[in-house]
């Protein structure tokens, strides 16, 4: 590596008095004083949430209004702080999506335990659980901080679906084919 010898100049008298430096510093701080402020005043102004943000985990429905969760409980197993608790249940025989067979009877996420790691979303084979853009989760009691199934669907809403996996499966069965 090339060595670049730097010439160390002795300080001039003005520099040794330290006063020109202070004047320059005062100029800098003055510039900051008059410059527009950069603070985001939170409750009134909200930050723009970037795509891919990992906010509060939610359950979503597909565009046809079918709840996507099939209560496989993978998220419950993978959840590092054990924040998720699922009570599996069946689907009524006469329901339009009876062939999906399973759905959660109750689904609870304890937001006091959740660490927003997103592993539940990553592990979900049905793309049913999503960490969406809500970043503020507050409550007055511990019970309030547990999101039940109704609340999770309310928070999650409907997300667009790229696959319609169960519809295609049903169509394939009806047309006599095996795998779709």
């Amino acid at each position: 590596m090339a060595v670049v010898p730097l010439e160390r100049k002795p300080l001039t008298f003005a520099e040794r008095t330290y006063l020109p430096q202070i004047a320059e510093g005062l100029r800098t701080t003055w510039r900051h004083l008059v410059r527009p402020k950069t603070t985001l005043e939170y409750p009134e102004q909200r930050p723009a949430v970037p795509p891919g943000y990992r906010g509060v985990p939610t359950l979503v429905k597909d565009p046809n209004g079918r709840e996507k969760c099939v209560s496989c409980q993978l998220c419950e197993f993978v959840c590092p702080p054990k924040a998720i608790r699922i009570t599996p249940g069946g689907i009524a025989e006469d329901a339009p999506h009876a062939h999906v067979e399973k759905a959660p009877r109750e689904f609870e996420i304890d937001m006091l335990r959740c660490i927003y790691c997103g592993m539940c979303q990553e592990v979900c084979p049905e793309e049913a659980i999503w960490l969406q853009s809500q970043y503020s989760m507050t409550g007055y009691s511990r019970e309030e901080m547990v999101n039940n199934k109704a609340r999770l669907y309310e928070l999650g809403g409907t997300l667009p679906d790229e696959h319609f996996k169960w519809d295609r499966k049903k169509a394939a069965e009806e047309s006599g084919g095996g795998h779709h």
Partner: protein, 387 residues
């Protein structure tokens, strides 16, 4: 009303005047603490405290939100918090001196006000009469003598707290204050050498210093800051050290001493230290303004009397002593507040010195500089005034 006031016993008049001054100093101290937070915030790119508001003020359309943004009501909130907090007294302190220290801090801060004139009015003969609690001849000496008592509160607080960091803070503060008092005193001597010309009655009065900056002519109207820049500079630097302000913030360097001498204090006792610090800043800035920035004269070469001469033809009320008095107080306070803003501005510009640097600057830089300055001006004044 003026007649009623003049008919009172002089002692009653003095008490009223004193109360009036204290009633001004306390709110200014509170507003300064607020201004400190605001200026700090602005320099750091934040809006600063802007939440507290009294409901009936927020109903005023434009002014209410503006005052809220300005954080004016945080002064009330802060002061109220200070009053109603639990006033904890640690078990390991020396109780009597622990309680005494904040009181001792307030006393010199409020006592020095008496000899600092803060305005002037023109009497019927057109002479400028200074306004102040006591326009005494010892003026500045009284300020220095009583002001230097402030160091005892720091020593008392540091020692009575009976714990390590407050003690170190108290020791540092006392060493620093004593070191810089020398240069502080030396730096103002040229001013008074110039004022006390041979054959004139001797005085250390601050009002007299202002009078000397209001004389006609190029040299007469010049503020002492231009006439004696080195004196002004040394005085200003020593003032920063004396008031324990950044960059000489040794007594309460939070990175190495937690809170310094007031680590063990809380609630109103801590608040008293705080107000005393701002009162010291106010008095110090006031003395600097009087000595070097022309006191109540609006501009260099434009004394108060000239300004009143310009205003008088416009309206008879404008030359009324009451208006002139208020105008001069306004000019004086404006300069003082500008200086206090400068204190805050410097706080965020210059990083804190190390303790050995503080001692180095005080003893090996400022003191020789102020002595050389004194010798130079003594010789120059001797040549000019004996000619």
């Amino acid at each position: 009303m003026i007649d009623l006031y003049l008919s009172l016993h002089p002692v009653a008049q003095g008490v009223l005047k004193g109360l009036a001054v204290i009633m001004v100093i306390f709110p200014i101290g509170g507003i300064c603490s607020m201004a400190e937070r605001k200026v700090s915030a602005w320099i750091q790119g934040r809006p600063g405290p802007n939440r507290a508001i009294v409901p009936w003020v927020s109903w005023i359309p434009v002014i209410g939100p503006f005052l809220q943004r300005l954080g004016l009501f945080h002064v009330l909130a802060d002061g109220g918090k200070m009053l109603f907090k639990e006033d904890a007294l640690p078990g390991h302190v020396n109780k009597f001196y622990f309680v005494l220290a904040p009181v001792v801090a307030m006393m010199p801060a409020l006592t020095t006000v008496t000899t600092v004139p803060f305005g002037a009015y023109l009497d019927a003969a057109g002479r400028v009469v200074p306004l102040g609690l006591a326009n005494v001849d010892i003026g500045l000496i009284a300020v220095f003598a009583v002001g230097s008592l402030g160091v005892y509160s720091l020593i008392l607080a540091g020692w009575a707290s009976n714990s390590k960091y407050p003690f170190l803070g108290g020791v540092r503060a006392s060493a620093q204050l004593i070191s810089y008092e020398l240069s502080l005193t030396m730096s103002v001597l040229p001013v008074f050498l110039w004022i006390n010309a041979p054959g004139t009655p001797g005085t250390m009065s601050l009002a007299r210093a202002v009078e000397f900056q209001s004389l006609p002519g190029f040299w007469g109207g010049m503020w002492f800051a231009f006439l004696m820049p080195v004196s002004a500079l040394v005085f200003l630097i020593a003032l920063f050290a004396e008031t324990n302000r950044h960059p000489f913030d040794m007594a309460e360097g939070e990175s190495d001493l937690v809170g310094g001498f007031h680590t063990e204090y809380g609630a109103f006792k801590w608040g008293l230290f705080f107000v005393a610090e701002y009162a010291h800043m106010l008095i110090g800035s006031g003395v600097f303004t009087l000595l070097f920035l022309g006191g109540w004269n609006p501009l260099p070469w434009v004394p108060l009397a000239t300004l009143v001469g310009w205003l008088a033809p416009l309206h008879p009320l404008l030359s009324h002593p009451l208006f002139v008095g208020l105008l001069s107080i306004g000019i004086f306070l404006g300069k003082v507040i500008a200086l206090i803003f400068f204190f805050m501005w410097v706080r965020w510009t210059v990083p804190r010195f190390r303790y050995d640097q503080v001692m180095e600057i005080g003893w090996r830089k400022l003191l020789p500089l102020s002595v050389a300055n004194l010798v130079f001006y003594a010789a120059a004044i001797a040549v000019i005034q004996t000619r």
